[in-house]
Symmetry: C2
Subunit: 472 residues, 2 copies
């Protein structure tokens, strides 16, 4: 989230970046710990269940007092220090020894080049068991209704203005999804409501409940900042990719690129933001105008004609400048510099409940949506080979790497390994992170073409779709 929140660095440095103790969520009182989330006896589950970023072993408590990394990295205190080193920017992956991630998923990450004190990305990879809820009418569940179900889960969380929201989401969002999916056991076919649309609805509502929990806990436990969330759920043959923010997911299948998400930024969501400002002008606090102009209006231009566009327009037209057009525009800037209320460059995600306009008390949260867009990919509709993968990356990857470059790296790296070598997906994730980070040269991190590499936190999951993973 480089440059995405103006004061993020200053804020973090001044606060010391120390996260508060993390209490057990009052929303999920009976949630098993990540370690026990997988059914112990479930025959189809893979041998290993990687923990989320929260459940640190006791020996790393001291290091965790200042920051944390995903538990599945199994970092020693020394490893944790290396992962936190802005100068070296060592790429981190789960160790070759020990249990692999489900499906032999590959993962790699690297810290930013100094824009924030710690790596504000977080990740989670889990196998989650969903116990069926009692039926809707309150009657006890029939034995024939089964023993519940199991889903596979991957999450990338790109934090900004602090690491608290990303850490909390990595720790709890899959539990909210599990809670929502319990209702699935009540489902009986109804007009126009498919099983798939219930899973989509469960994920959508889980994002909302996660966000509401952050709102409730933000005072007592100081959930800092906000985060983008990119989440994958695999359930009953289908892959659900849910995105809220500017991370991105693509499938590379037989060399073909299938986009599985789109980014939510002030540019892509301009009309939604402007509509809200138009319908609820009190949210603009008399400081902003919902209209967009190609440049800032000068007071001397009052009464002249100027190009503008509003919530209904994709094109530009002329209007006569009035007094309130001199206010700062709700949406301004282009590309990575685009901002809502001159402050934040991403328009969906979790948290940010305390985010205010610079030098103002005006809250920005009303313009941010916690709802993801969910895309569904049916794994059963195509015979996948071991080289077909789903790649998830935070914007640190995509800022300097195109979809086509990722597909080329997929081809290059995977073809150098035996198809049944489970380490190939981690090697691929590492290659993608290294390719986006670059190497230190000429007082910066540079790519082979001498352009600047990404100075942002970079995190990548590579999920094999037809590989040696024994999922069904």
């Amino acid at each position: 989230m480089l440059n995405r929140v103006r004061w993020a660095v200053a804020h973090l440095v001044s606060s010391g970046g120390a996260p508060p103790p993390r209490p057990k969520s009052p929303d999920l009182p009976d949630a098993p710990s990540p370690q026990t989330a997988a059914p112990p006896e479930e025959p189809r589950s893979p041998p290993a269940t990687a923990g989320s970023g929260s459940a640190a072993p006791a020996k790393t408590v001291e290091a965790r007092a200042s920051f944390s990394r995903p538990t599945f990295l199994q970092l020693s205190p020394g490893g944790l220090r290396r992962a936190d080193d802005h100068a070296g920017r060592a790429v981190q992956s789960p160790p070759d020894t020990g249990r692999r991630l489900p499906w032999s998923t590959g993962y790699a990450e690297v810290i930013n080049a100094g824009k924030s004190r710690h790596n504000e990305d977080q990740a989670c990879c889990e196998v989650v068991y969903v116990e069926g809820r009692r039926s809707v009418s309150g009657a006890p569940r029939e034995p024939s209704q089964g023993q519940g179900l199991c889903f596979y889960y991957w999450g990338l969380f790109d934090g900004h203005a602090g690491g608290g929201a990303a850490e909390m989401a990595a720790r709890l969002l899959h539990r909210h999804i599990r809670e929502q999916l319990k209702d699935l056991s009540c489902w009986s076919s109804q007009k126009e409501v498919t099983h798939e649309s219930l899973v989509v609805g469960a994920i959508e509502n889980a994002f909302q409940f996660m966000d509401e929990q952050m709102a409730r806990e933000r005072r007592g436990h100081q959930v800092e900042g906000g985060c983008c969330a990119l989440v994958v759920v695999y359930l009953l043959g289908k892959v659900y990719v849910a995105n809220a923010g500017d991370s991105r997911a693509i499938i590379v299948r037989n060399g073909e690129i299938i986009p599985m998400s789109r980014e939510f930024t002030p540019e892509t969501e301009r009309q939604r933001l402007q509509l809200l400002g138009f319908l609820k002008p009190e949210l603009l606090g008399g400081e902003f105008t919902h209209l967009e102009f190609p440049r800032r209006i000068q007071p001397k231009e009052l009464g002249q004609k100027m190009l503008y566009r509003d919530q209904n327009m994709t094109g530009w037209a002329y209007k006569k400048i009035e007094l309130e057009d001199l206010r700062f525009p709700l949406v301004c800037g282009e590309g990575k510099k685009a901002r809502v209320m001159a402050t934040i460059g991403v328009t969906r995600g979790l948290g940010d409940h305390n985010l205010k306009v610079c030098s103002s008390t005006l809250p920005i949260k009303p313009f941010l949506s916690c709802f993801p867009e969910v895309r569904v990919y049916d794994l059963t509709q195509y015979e996948h080979c071991p080289d077909d993968v789903l790649v998830l990356g935070t914007d640190g990857l995509w800022d300097v790497t195109s979809d086509c470059e990722v597909a080329a790296t997929v081809d290059r790296v995977l073809s150098a390994y035996e198809p049944n070598d489970p380490s190939r997906y981690t090697a691929l994730a590492q290659a993608l992170v290294l390719g986006a980070r670059g190497i230190p040269r000429d007082r910066g991190w540079r790519l082979p073409n001498n352009k600047l590499g990404s100075g942002d936190d970079i995190s990548v999951f590579v999920i094999p779709l037809g590989g040696p993973g024994s999922y069904s």
Copy 2:
């Protein structure tokens, strides 16, 4: 718009369907009449300029007192009676003799099977000259700024609850576009504002001004009902397709189908409508809920769990039924039966300023948008052959004809004519209308597969993209 507005037939029959005298628009005081809209001396303009539906010759005044058809059909009083005959449903096209439509455009239409007294579709095809406006700063225009510009224009307007709005739009919308395009002469390249985006903005604002004019004139001059609008503008090498409603445009190019519009209905716009109801609950008048349920809730279900979705969701989830969930849903029904406030089945268009919920004073207009979606097609990026066409049709065509069936008819009909025969596009339009209407059999209009043909008004433009038309 068959079945799209509940009381359309009853209303029309009771009012006699007679449109009021049409005054000159107060908005466009200096607008030349359609006959003079084309530059008299413009060398590139085609020899003929077809008039819109408004400018009826004196001899048809008597017939026009009850209804009107596009002037370019050149209907005699007898022809007008045949065009108005629900029993015969004769297909109407411009005569082979006389001037052709610009670009040798093909056109055909047929009246409905009795759902409304008259054909509520209207059409317009024009060449419009845009005089440059004085520059924005007020300084006189430099001679080097040129003599203005010329655009080609096609419009289909599918009326409902009366023919007034469609007739007014056919008569005036292109003039509003011309007014907006006058500002183009002031354009100098600015950050992120392209010439194309100015044309898009001009069309978007023209729709809004047209709708506002209908609102102002609705009392004095009784602009009945509303209409969908599908409009094509050709300017400087680009085709702009603007759609507000459920008409549809596709390009058939070398057998390939390129969608040039999408339909705006309660189903496709559910989330926009629900968001508005959520942010402005007063628009629901305590009669409706913005939530959607798979079926109507019964009072005895209070407190039970039920599937729902709101403005943020594409999936379904469960909620506990509360008292206000018993209200009628803002959006309900599926497919062609979907309705906003149980009343109207299309969510964008012009007019409808008087539309109220059945047996209520609650206005529906706030939920309807007059803004089109504009898609741009660059004619210069591909070498078109005489068989490449842009097909515009009202929903009467598309309700019973798929894109692929249209493409097959394009191939079948055009291959039966010489490529340079200008009558082939009218023959194609007629074939499309006939194929959607069917033939009378078994007490109904039936297609060759014995399914019911469309009982709606059907109107089709076929615009050749690389044919003998001498446009540049």
